[in-house]
Every structure is written in C-alpha cells, then in structure tokens.
C-alpha cells in the first residue's frame, strides 16, 4: 500500500529511534517535568504493531515529506469527499487491518521471575521537616524517603569535603508507623517527638524523646486525612493540626490519642482557608497563622473548583468554627509560592516561611497584611537552600533552621540573616553537592516517548 492522505490533523512523518535518557523532576508536588522535542504521528505502514511502536516508542521527527499526488495513490483532490475516520467505531488504527487479540486459550500463566533491569531511586533521606530541642541541643529531621526521623547534634556541621553527618539516633521501621510524614514537632516541656502523617495513615504518632530504632509510638491520634503541620499552645495545653482539604485547623487537648475528637475546628467558607499547609502559632500575641495554596472547591458541587493565589491567613488563637481571619497576607509582592512550614519568633512575633518553589526562607512582620513584600528573604547561591519546605525558629540560640528537599540537608542561619547568606552550619545526609531526586511519593508515572524520559510526579 502506498501512502495515503487521510483526514487527520497529524503531519505525515518518518521517525526513528533516538538516544535514550532518563530525566526525573517535579510534577507539582503534584507538578511537572520535561525536556525538549516535537511530538509526531506517523502513517505509511500496514503493520499495526510496528506503527504503534513508532507512535508510542521512540519518536523523533526526522523529516516531513509530501505524499506523492500521482499514480495509484489514494490522494483525493481538494473538494472531493474525504473519508472520515472519527466515527464512533472507527479510528486511524482500525483501518489498517484486523485487530490482533485473542482470549486466553493456553495452559496458563508464564511466570517471569526476572529482576528489574534498572531501579531508579534515591538512597538518601529527603527531609520534609525540621525541629529543634533546645534543652538537649538536638535537631530532629523528618525523612520522607526512608520513612525515618533522624536526630543530630544541634552543632553538627558537615564542612566542605567532609563525609555526610552521622545521626545520633534514627527512629524507623514497621513498628513506628512513620511513613509519608510532613511535620516533626518536639514538645518543649517533656521532649516528646510528634510526627504528622500527610497521606496514607491519617495519624499523628508520638515517641518518647530518646526513642530509637523500630519502636512503637507511645501514642497514636487518628486525624483527618491530609494532615500537614502541627503546633503546641503550652499555656492552654492544646495542639493545633492543619488539614489540607477540606481545609481546616483541628485543635486537640494535649495528650489526645486514639479516636479522640478535636476540641474545636476552624473550618468554613468565611475562614478563607484553601488547600492549607503550614501553620504556626504566636502564643504571646494570641495569633494563629495558616498558609494556603489557593486551590479550592465546594465538595458538594462538582465543577465548583477554582484556583486562587496563595495566602497567609491570620486568626485569633482561639478562633472557632466558620470564623473570618483578622487579616490576610496575599499578592504578588509576598512571593509566596507553595509555602511549606512556618515558625514564629516568640520574642518579636516575626513569622518565618519556608517558600518551597521560591527557593527561599521569607519573613513577615506580625502585623503585616495585604500585598506586602517579605521583611526578610534568605535566598541565593550561597544559602545552600534547595526546595526548602521545613523551617524552625530556635529563639534560644537566635537561629532559624531550614530543611531542604532538594539536597538532603538542613541548614541554619542567624535569625537576622537576609539575602544570599551562607549557612552557619549544615547537616548533610548525602554526598556533597548531591541533587536529590526530590521523590515525595512516587505513586504514578508516565513515559515520554518523544524524549525518552520518565515523568514522575511527587
């Protein structure tokens, strides 16, 4: 059969395989990746599987050539009726020949016990959260990749050329219930270690301060699906948990466990919570801060979804029900871009925000509202920041910590740092200069046959 012009929008092209490479990056935390190239479609072969292999295999546009308009070609002159292949039971492929599929008729299953040809994974921790125990001079890092909590000396410092920092102890294993956790919190009174799970388990697990290895939590509290961050109000013996969606803040009594219900919920349209993530409290000034990514919908109304700008909403500390915020920080000057954890300096009331996609730690004053620029921004090549999603203010030592998903590190700066400031110290859990795969949860994948790349969302 010679080539035909068929009623299709696709160009006629010849393609062949190209070099093989693999690229992985963020598809959002949900985001996306890519490379370079042109998508092509091919015609001209009567072998359906060869044609399919070319389409879904390794396409690269080599040339685009005119189909001859002569001889026994089935080219149809302009104006002549062209057969359409887009009817309900026709398509481009079905016109190339009889389908080749048959039901199982053989003796049964062929077991293929072959190992994988390749495994793509990151063997290092990927840190989603940081907290400091200033009584014991320890730093706790939440690891989303190896499902662990790693404890370091606060003064550890992996200098250039030095090997990765050794953890003092590691909480990890099947008994721990530590999985895709997004927040680690240290109780400043008794040193208990809290860990918030963001996805599968819907629990907050609590360990004693010195827990190590594969240990059972001393408490488990079942929480609403998509919990993200927590903070403790010691004065009122309450702890706060932010939930991404339906967006809300749940407040529990200190020591809550099992299926205990929250004492109160901040939830509803007036709250202007939307896809809520980081949260911080200022017990001294009686304020609650929540950051929002802006995605929202009325869950009872399909099609009601909308995108909005990110924001930080500020409430009374004891806000309850469908209560409006006192003020909102929102707008392009804020530079908010997938804000992660937040932490308050109790002395000044300043709010520190891990601005993940902004590659920065940004600060706002306690009274900021509207479209305001950050009062400070730690950002730049010397900072060591790489997709920071965790932040913690250590007011005792006048330091602010960041945990970086992009390079398996935690970095610490003076509280007054601003601009392209080098860290005071670095906890590094991978070789120097390593760029993490930034795998958060590799639930899905797709294969980009145009560029021969694997697409992995996180």
């Amino acid at each position: 059969m010679r080539s035909c012009v068929i009623d299709t929008e696709f160009p006629v092209a010849y393609i062949r395989g190209c070099r093989r490479n693999v690229m992985v990056a963020k598809l959002g935390r949900y985001g996306l990746i890519a490379g370079v190239g042109v998508g092509v479609f091919i015609l001209g072969s009567s072998a359906v599987d060869r044609l399919w292999k070319r389409v879904t295999g390794a396409p690269r546009l080599i040339s685009v050539e005119e189909v001859p308009d002569a001889g026994d070609s089935c080219y149809r002159p302009a104006g002549e009726e062209t057969p359409r292949l887009s009817g309900p039971n026709h398509n481009l492929f079905s016109d190339f020949g009889e389908p080749s599929a048959e039901a199982q008729a053989g003796p049964g299953t062929v077991n293929l016990d072959r190992p994988p040809a390749r495994i793509l994974r990151d063997t290092s921790p990927i840190y989603s959260s940081v907290a400091v125990d200033d009584k014991n001079n320890e730093v706790f890092l939440q690891d989303n990749n190896l499902w662990s909590i790693r404890v370091f000396s606060r003064l550890d410092n992996a200098k250039p050329g030095a090997p990765p920092t050794e953890a003092r102890r590691v909480i990890a294993g099947n008994k721990t219930d530590v999985q895709f956790n997004s927040c680690v919190y240290i109780d400043p009174i008794n040193g208990d270690v809290y860990s918030v799970e963001n996805d599968i388990g819907d629990v907050i697990v609590t360990f004693s301060h010195d827990a190590t290895g594969d240990v059972e939590p001393v408490r488990k509290l079942r929480v609403t699906h998509r919990a993200y961050a927590m903070a403790m109000d010691e004065a009122n013996q309450e702890f706060f948990v932010s939930i991404q969606h339906p967006p809300q803040v749940a407040v529990y009594r200190r020591g809550a466990s099992g299926n205990e219900k929250p004492k109160r919920l901040l939830i509803g349209e007036k709250t202007q919570l939307t896809d809520s993530h980081g949260m911080a409290i200022d017990a001294k000034r009686k304020l609650l801060f929540v950051n929002n990514w802006g995605n929202s919908a009325d869950d009872d109304k399909p099609g009601s979804g909308r995108f909005g700008p990110p924001s930080i909403t500020v409430y009374r500390l004891d806000a309850n029900g469908d209560e409006a915020p006192l003020r909102i920080i929102q707008g392009p000057k804020t530079t908010l871009d997938w804000p992660g954890a937040m932490s308050v300096n109790p002395d000044t009331g300043d709010l520190y925000v891990a601005n993940d996609m902004g590659q920065a730690i940004i600060g706002f004053r306690s009274t900021d509202r509207g479209d305001v620029a950050p009062s400070r921004m730690i950002k730049g090549a010397h900072t060591g920041l790489s997709y920071p999603v965790g932040v913690f203010v250590d007011s005792k030592n006048k330091e602010v910590w960041a945990s970086n998903i992009g390079n398996s590190t935690a970095t610490v700066y003076p509280l007054t740092a601003n601009g392209d400031a080098a860290p005071l110290r670095t906890i590094r859990s991978a070789e120097e200069g390593k760029q993490s795969l930034r795998f958060g949860k590799t639930q899905a994948l797709a294969y980009d046959s145009t560029r021969e790349q694997i697409l992995v969302p996180n």
Partner: protein, 244 residues
C-alpha cells in the same frame, strides 16, 4: 498525584488538579512554573474532587482526541481532548449496569483505552471491566475479567499495549499480569512478574516503552515498608514477550 498521562501524538502532559476540580494540559517540553496551555474546569464539567477522591487520575486517547476522568457518582467522564474552560463531557458512562460499585469508583477506578480494538478498560474493585470505547450511559461491560484465578487487583494507573490487545494490570499479592482484551471471566494472566516478591515493592503505576520492549513501574510505599527501607522507586523490567 495518583495518575497522569503523556500524549505522544500531540506532545502534551495531562494532569489533574483534584482540589481545584480541573484537568490541565501542558506542553510536552514544559519546565518549571509553566502555565498550562488549556484547562478544563467549571460547573458544566461535572468534575469533582476530594473528599470523594474523584479526578485524581486521567487517561488520554490521542487517536480519538479524548480524555477520560473518573468522577462521582461512579462515573467515567469523557471530554474532547481539545476542550477548554467550562466544557461539558462528550459522554458519561454511569449507572447500575456498568458494574461500577458506588462509591468505589470514586478515585479508585482507572481507565485505559485501546484505540486499535476500540475498547476501554476500567480497573475497578479488583476487576477489569471491558467496554466498547464509545460506551455511554448505563451500559453493560462487554466482558469482565476478575476472580481468584485471575488474581486481578487494583492499581493507580495501568496500560494496554494496543497492537496486541494486552492489558497490563496489577495482580493481588503484588504481581504485574498480562491479560487479553478478549479475555472474559476468571482467567489467569498470560504472563506475570511477581514484582513484590522479587523486589519488595508494590507497583502503583505502569508505563510502557515499546521501543525498548520495557515496562516501567512506579512504586510508593503502601503501608508495607519496602524491605530496604527506601519508600520511593521506579522499576524498569525488560518484557519483550508482550511486544512480539
């Protein structure tokens, strides 16, 4: 994100935004904070999201220019691939005869399309429901693969190798199996790779690379901790048998 798609014909990446009840189309070479080229979103779309777990998977049929989105109540929404804005679905497959068990279809169903044999397959409730590609409304499946001999399980995204009509899906106990779109009933897979037994990982997504005769699997720890403690992985298996 539990499922997304790459459209090799139009060189587009198709993703869902469950919380914003939207389907987004990006250029294949998109990089960084690039805006989508199209967004399907609005009251006519019928797209839902959490807490019903709708719209967290999407399938593209580039040959017939269609996009499939599982939604509530127990339905598959089919959109024109080129649709943008507040577009109504072209078809909605839903109803008691479909075999979709409410509310299980929500989010937990995933769809694959075979443009060669004109069928769509829905992986739902440990079964593979095979429909005519253009099935709409309250339509019975043509065939159903499921049962203890089949071992069919559940997965976030699965694939069909259309030239041969092979369905690559998850099996209970952590294997990836291959069934035919012509299979019906409690039929064992033609081939299987016991992924969990071999690697300690449970596959959650499948992609095909016919050019190199490989199958790619995404694996994210699902409660069970992987044996070496690394929760996230992408495995590539050589699987020439299915491409011959």
């Amino acid at each position: 994100m539990h499922g997304f798609a790459y459209d090799a014909v139009h060189d587009e990446i198709v993703v869902t935004s469950p919380l914003a009840q939207a389907v987004l189309f990006f250029k294949g070479d998109a990089n960084g904070e690039t805006p989508p080229v199209r967004v399907i979103q609005g009251p006519h779309t019928q797209i839902d999201g959490p807490p019903n777990l709708g719209n967290d998977r999407v399938t593209v049929d580039p040959v017939n220019d269609e996009v499939y989105v599982p939604a509530v109540p127990s339905s598959i929404l089919v959109f024109d691939r080129k649709a943008a804005g507040d577009a109504a679905p072209k078809r909605v497959l839903t109803g008691p005869d479909t075999g979709f068990e409410a509310p299980g279809i929500r989010g937990m169903a995933t769809v694959a399309v075979d443009a060669v044999h004109n069928v769509m397959v829905v992986n739902h409730a440990n079964r593979l429901l095979i429909f005519n590609r253009t099935a709409s409304g309250n339509t019975k499946p043509l065939r159903v693969i499921g049962g203890p001999n089949s071992g069919v399980g559940q997965i976030s995204s699965f694939q069909i190798y259309a030239p041969k009509g092979w369905i690559l899906a998850n099996g209970q106990g952590g294997f990836i199996g291959v069934w035919s779109i012509e299979d019906n009933g409690d039929v064992p897979p033609r081939w299987k790779i016991p992924v969990q037994q071999l690697t300690g990982y449970t596959a959650s997504g499948i992609a095909l690379d016919p050019a190199h005769e490989e199958v790619l699997l995404s694996c994210a720890g699902q409660r069970a901790r992987p044996r070496d403690g690394i929760a996230n992985a992408v495995l590539t298996f050589s699987w020439p048998e299915i491409y011959k």
